[in-house]
Protein backbone atom coordinates (compact mmCIF):
# COMPACT_ATOMS: atom_id res chain seq x y z
CA UNK A 1 0.00 0.00 0.00
CA UNK A 2 2.06 2.91 -1.24
CA UNK A 3 1.63 6.37 0.08
CA UNK A 4 1.63 9.39 -2.07
CA UNK A 5 3.95 12.26 -1.20
CA UNK A 6 4.84 15.64 -2.56
CA UNK A 7 8.41 16.73 -2.17
CA UNK A 8 9.33 20.30 -2.86
CA UNK A 9 12.91 21.39 -2.66
CA UNK A 10 14.91 24.48 -3.47
CA UNK A 11 18.22 24.31 -5.27
CA UNK A 12 20.68 27.13 -4.89
CA UNK A 13 20.46 29.64 -7.75
CA UNK A 14 24.08 29.53 -8.76
CA UNK A 15 23.92 25.84 -9.66
CA UNK A 16 23.85 25.27 -13.40
CA UNK A 17 20.92 23.72 -15.21
CA UNK A 18 22.89 20.63 -16.11
CA UNK A 19 23.80 20.12 -12.48
CA UNK A 20 20.20 20.60 -11.43
CA UNK A 21 19.06 18.00 -13.95
CA UNK A 22 21.70 15.60 -12.75
CA UNK A 23 20.55 16.15 -9.20
CA UNK A 24 16.92 15.51 -10.04
CA UNK A 25 17.85 12.38 -11.96
CA UNK A 26 19.81 11.18 -8.95
CA UNK A 27 16.81 11.61 -6.69
CA UNK A 28 14.52 9.91 -9.16
CA UNK A 29 16.89 6.96 -9.25
CA UNK A 30 16.82 6.83 -5.49
CA UNK A 31 13.07 6.58 -5.56
CA UNK A 32 12.85 3.97 -8.28
CA UNK A 33 15.64 1.87 -6.78
CA UNK A 34 13.93 1.91 -3.44
CA UNK A 35 10.75 0.53 -4.89
CA UNK A 36 8.76 3.69 -5.42
CA UNK A 37 7.56 5.49 -8.51
CA UNK A 38 7.95 9.08 -9.51
CA UNK A 39 4.60 10.47 -10.63
CA UNK A 40 5.82 13.77 -11.92
CA UNK A 41 8.58 16.32 -11.65
CA UNK A 42 7.77 19.95 -12.04
CA UNK A 43 10.28 22.73 -12.24
CA UNK A 44 9.08 26.08 -11.04
CA UNK A 45 12.26 27.81 -11.99
CA UNK A 46 13.91 30.66 -10.24
CA UNK A 47 11.76 32.43 -7.69
CA UNK A 48 12.39 35.03 -5.11
CA UNK A 49 12.54 33.59 -1.63
CA UNK A 50 10.41 35.15 1.06
CA UNK A 51 13.42 35.30 3.37
CA UNK A 52 17.14 34.75 3.12
CA UNK A 53 18.18 31.11 3.18
CA UNK A 54 21.87 30.40 3.48
CA UNK A 55 22.62 33.90 2.22
CA UNK A 56 20.57 33.39 -0.97
CA UNK A 57 17.61 35.53 -1.97
CA UNK A 58 16.53 33.46 -4.98
CA UNK A 59 16.11 29.78 -5.48
CA UNK A 60 15.30 27.16 -8.05
CA UNK A 61 12.07 25.43 -6.99
CA UNK A 62 11.39 21.83 -7.92
CA UNK A 63 8.30 19.83 -7.09
CA UNK A 64 8.26 16.04 -7.21
CA UNK A 65 5.26 13.83 -6.58
CA UNK A 66 6.15 10.27 -5.69
CA UNK A 67 4.57 7.02 -4.60
CA UNK A 68 6.70 5.56 -1.89
CA UNK A 69 6.65 4.08 1.57
CA UNK A 70 7.97 5.67 4.73
CA UNK A 71 11.44 4.18 4.69
CA UNK A 72 12.07 5.36 1.17
CA UNK A 73 10.96 8.86 2.04
CA UNK A 74 13.30 8.80 4.99
CA UNK A 75 16.15 7.87 2.68
CA UNK A 76 15.20 10.53 0.15
CA UNK A 77 15.08 13.17 2.85
CA UNK A 78 18.48 12.09 4.10
CA UNK A 79 19.87 12.57 0.61
CA UNK A 80 18.21 15.95 0.29
CA UNK A 81 19.66 17.04 3.58
CA UNK A 82 23.12 15.89 2.67
CA UNK A 83 23.24 17.22 -0.89
CA UNK A 84 24.97 20.54 -1.01
CA UNK A 85 22.98 22.37 -3.74
CA UNK A 86 19.64 21.75 -2.01
CA UNK A 87 18.99 24.51 0.50
CA UNK A 88 15.47 23.69 1.65
CA UNK A 89 12.97 20.89 1.26
CA UNK A 90 9.56 19.89 2.49
CA UNK A 91 7.75 16.56 2.19
CA UNK A 92 4.01 16.50 2.48
CA UNK A 93 1.96 13.35 2.63
CA UNK A 94 -0.93 13.63 0.24
CA UNK A 95 -2.69 10.27 0.11
CA UNK A 96 -5.19 10.89 2.91
CA UNK A 97 -5.98 14.26 1.47
CA UNK A 98 -6.40 12.74 -1.96
CA UNK A 99 -8.76 10.11 -0.56
CA UNK A 100 -10.85 12.81 1.05
CA UNK A 101 -10.96 14.84 -2.15
CA UNK A 102 -11.93 11.82 -4.20
CA UNK A 103 -14.72 11.04 -1.79
CA UNK A 104 -16.04 14.58 -2.03
CA UNK A 105 -15.85 14.46 -5.81
CA UNK A 106 -17.66 11.15 -5.87
CA UNK A 107 -20.42 12.49 -3.64
CA UNK A 108 -20.72 15.58 -5.80
CA UNK A 109 -20.84 13.52 -8.96
CA UNK A 110 -23.66 11.34 -7.67
CA UNK A 111 -25.54 14.35 -6.39
CA UNK A 112 -25.38 16.06 -9.75
CA UNK A 113 -26.39 12.92 -11.61
CA UNK A 114 -29.37 12.30 -9.36
CA UNK A 115 -30.62 15.84 -9.82
CA UNK A 116 -29.98 15.89 -13.58
CA UNK A 117 -31.34 12.34 -14.13
CA UNK A 118 -29.36 11.31 -17.21
CA UNK A 119 -29.93 7.84 -18.73
CA UNK A 120 -26.35 6.58 -18.48
CA UNK A 121 -25.70 3.10 -17.08
CA UNK A 122 -22.24 4.03 -15.73
CA UNK A 123 -23.70 6.74 -13.54
CA UNK A 124 -26.36 4.32 -12.31
CA UNK A 125 -23.68 1.85 -11.23
CA UNK A 126 -21.72 4.60 -9.53
CA UNK A 127 -24.80 6.11 -7.90
CA UNK A 128 -25.88 2.82 -6.37
CA UNK A 129 -22.97 2.16 -4.02
CA UNK A 130 -22.51 5.83 -3.24
CA UNK A 131 -26.18 6.26 -2.41
CA UNK A 132 -26.00 3.32 -0.03
CA UNK A 133 -23.06 4.81 1.82
CA UNK A 134 -24.16 7.31 4.45
CA UNK A 135 -23.69 10.75 3.05
CA UNK A 136 -23.87 13.39 5.79
CA UNK A 137 -26.53 16.02 5.11
CA UNK A 138 -25.96 15.78 1.38
CA UNK A 139 -28.72 13.32 0.56
CA UNK A 140 -31.33 15.00 -1.66
CA UNK A 141 -35.02 14.57 -1.04
CA UNK A 142 -35.48 12.07 -3.89
CA UNK A 143 -33.18 9.45 -2.42
CA UNK A 144 -34.73 9.90 1.03
CA UNK A 145 -38.13 9.22 -0.49
CA UNK A 146 -36.78 6.13 -2.23
CA UNK A 147 -35.26 4.84 0.99
CA UNK A 148 -38.37 5.64 3.03
Amino acid sequence: MDRFYEVMFIVRPDAEDADVDKLIAGFEHTVTNGGGTVRSTEKWGRRRLAYTVRKFNDGNYILMTIDADGALVHELERRLRVSEPVIKFITVRMDEEQKRLDKIKAIRATRKKLSAQPAAPAEGAAAEPAAEAPAPAVVPASTEAAHA
Partner: protein
Protein backbone atom coordinates in the same frame (compact mmCIF):
# COMPACT_ATOMS: atom_id res chain seq x y z
CA UNK B 1 -24.84 24.48 41.82
CA UNK B 2 -27.08 21.84 40.31
CA UNK B 3 -29.77 24.46 39.75
CA UNK B 4 -27.37 26.72 37.93
CA UNK B 5 -26.25 24.02 35.54
CA UNK B 6 -29.78 22.91 34.70
CA UNK B 7 -30.85 26.50 34.11
CA UNK B 8 -27.92 27.21 31.92
CA UNK B 9 -28.27 24.12 29.71
CA UNK B 10 -31.46 25.11 27.87
CA UNK B 11 -30.21 28.67 27.49
CA UNK B 12 -27.02 27.43 25.97
CA UNK B 13 -28.89 25.11 23.65
CA UNK B 14 -31.16 27.70 22.07
CA UNK B 15 -28.74 30.36 20.76
CA UNK B 16 -26.14 27.88 19.57
CA UNK B 17 -28.58 25.89 17.42
CA UNK B 18 -29.54 28.55 14.87
CA UNK B 19 -26.04 29.95 14.85
CA UNK B 20 -24.32 26.66 14.20
CA UNK B 21 -26.41 25.81 11.16
CA UNK B 22 -24.94 28.44 8.86
CA UNK B 23 -21.81 27.81 6.88
CA UNK B 24 -20.46 31.30 7.47
CA UNK B 25 -19.18 32.41 10.86
CA UNK B 26 -22.15 32.70 13.24
CA UNK B 27 -22.48 36.18 14.75
CA UNK B 28 -24.62 35.97 17.86
CA UNK B 29 -23.06 39.06 19.47
CA UNK B 30 -23.24 41.67 16.76
CA UNK B 31 -22.53 44.81 18.81
CA UNK B 32 -20.21 42.96 21.14
CA UNK B 33 -17.96 41.46 18.50
CA UNK B 34 -16.43 44.33 16.48
CA UNK B 35 -16.00 46.33 19.61
CA UNK B 36 -18.70 48.90 20.21
CA UNK B 37 -20.19 49.17 16.75
CA UNK B 38 -23.97 49.48 16.56
CA UNK B 39 -24.71 47.51 13.41
CA UNK B 40 -24.31 43.91 12.56
CA UNK B 41 -21.33 43.34 10.36
CA UNK B 42 -22.65 42.29 6.95
CA UNK B 43 -22.63 38.53 7.11
CA UNK B 44 -19.23 37.50 5.82
CA UNK B 45 -19.32 34.12 4.17
CA UNK B 46 -16.49 31.66 3.98
CA UNK B 47 -14.83 32.07 0.63
CA UNK B 48 -13.90 28.41 0.44
CA UNK B 49 -17.36 27.15 1.25
CA UNK B 50 -19.05 29.29 -1.37
CA UNK B 51 -16.56 28.58 -4.11
CA UNK B 52 -16.42 24.91 -3.10
CA UNK B 53 -12.64 24.87 -2.87
CA UNK B 54 -11.78 21.64 -1.11
CA UNK B 55 -8.04 21.55 -0.97
CA UNK B 56 -5.88 24.44 0.09
CA UNK B 57 -2.41 23.60 -1.16
CA UNK B 58 0.60 25.31 0.29
CA UNK B 59 1.91 25.89 -3.23
CA UNK B 60 -0.84 28.31 -4.15
CA UNK B 61 0.80 31.46 -2.86
CA UNK B 62 -1.62 33.90 -4.41
CA UNK B 63 -4.56 32.29 -2.67
CA UNK B 64 -2.76 32.23 0.65
CA UNK B 65 -1.58 35.80 0.39
CA UNK B 66 -5.16 37.00 0.65
CA UNK B 67 -5.25 35.67 4.20
CA UNK B 68 -1.91 36.94 5.35
CA UNK B 69 -1.45 40.44 6.71
CA UNK B 70 1.16 42.91 5.59
CA UNK B 71 3.67 41.87 8.20
CA UNK B 72 3.19 38.23 7.37
CA UNK B 73 0.84 37.37 10.22
CA UNK B 74 -2.12 35.08 9.65
CA UNK B 75 -5.36 37.07 9.63
CA UNK B 76 -7.89 35.92 12.24
CA UNK B 77 -11.04 34.27 11.07
CA UNK B 78 -13.35 36.96 12.44
CA UNK B 79 -11.90 39.41 9.94
CA UNK B 80 -11.89 37.20 6.88
CA UNK B 81 -15.10 35.30 7.60
CA UNK B 82 -13.60 31.89 6.94
CA UNK B 83 -15.23 28.93 8.63
CA UNK B 84 -13.36 26.92 11.24
CA UNK B 85 -12.43 23.86 9.19
CA UNK B 86 -11.11 25.96 6.38
CA UNK B 87 -9.28 28.28 8.70
CA UNK B 88 -7.48 25.31 10.20
CA UNK B 89 -6.51 24.02 6.78
CA UNK B 90 -5.49 27.47 5.72
CA UNK B 91 -3.28 27.86 8.76
CA UNK B 92 -1.63 24.55 8.05
CA UNK B 93 -1.00 25.53 4.45
CA UNK B 94 0.40 28.93 5.42
CA UNK B 95 2.78 27.38 7.90
CA UNK B 96 3.92 24.88 5.29
CA UNK B 97 4.43 27.66 2.80
CA UNK B 98 6.45 29.62 5.34
CA UNK B 99 8.67 26.62 5.83
CA UNK B 100 9.48 26.40 2.15
CA UNK B 101 10.11 30.16 1.85
CA UNK B 102 7.04 30.91 -0.23
CA UNK B 103 5.68 33.16 2.47
CA UNK B 104 7.67 35.10 5.03
CA UNK B 105 7.61 34.43 8.72
CA UNK B 106 7.88 38.12 9.56
CA UNK B 107 7.92 40.68 6.79
CA UNK B 108 8.35 44.38 6.42
CA UNK B 109 11.45 45.08 8.38
Amino acid sequence: MADETTHRAPEGGAPSAPGARGTGAPRPGGPGGPGGRKFFRRKKVCKFCTEKIDAIPYRDVRLLQGFVAERGKIVPRRLTGVCTTHQRRLTRAIKQARNIALLPFAARF
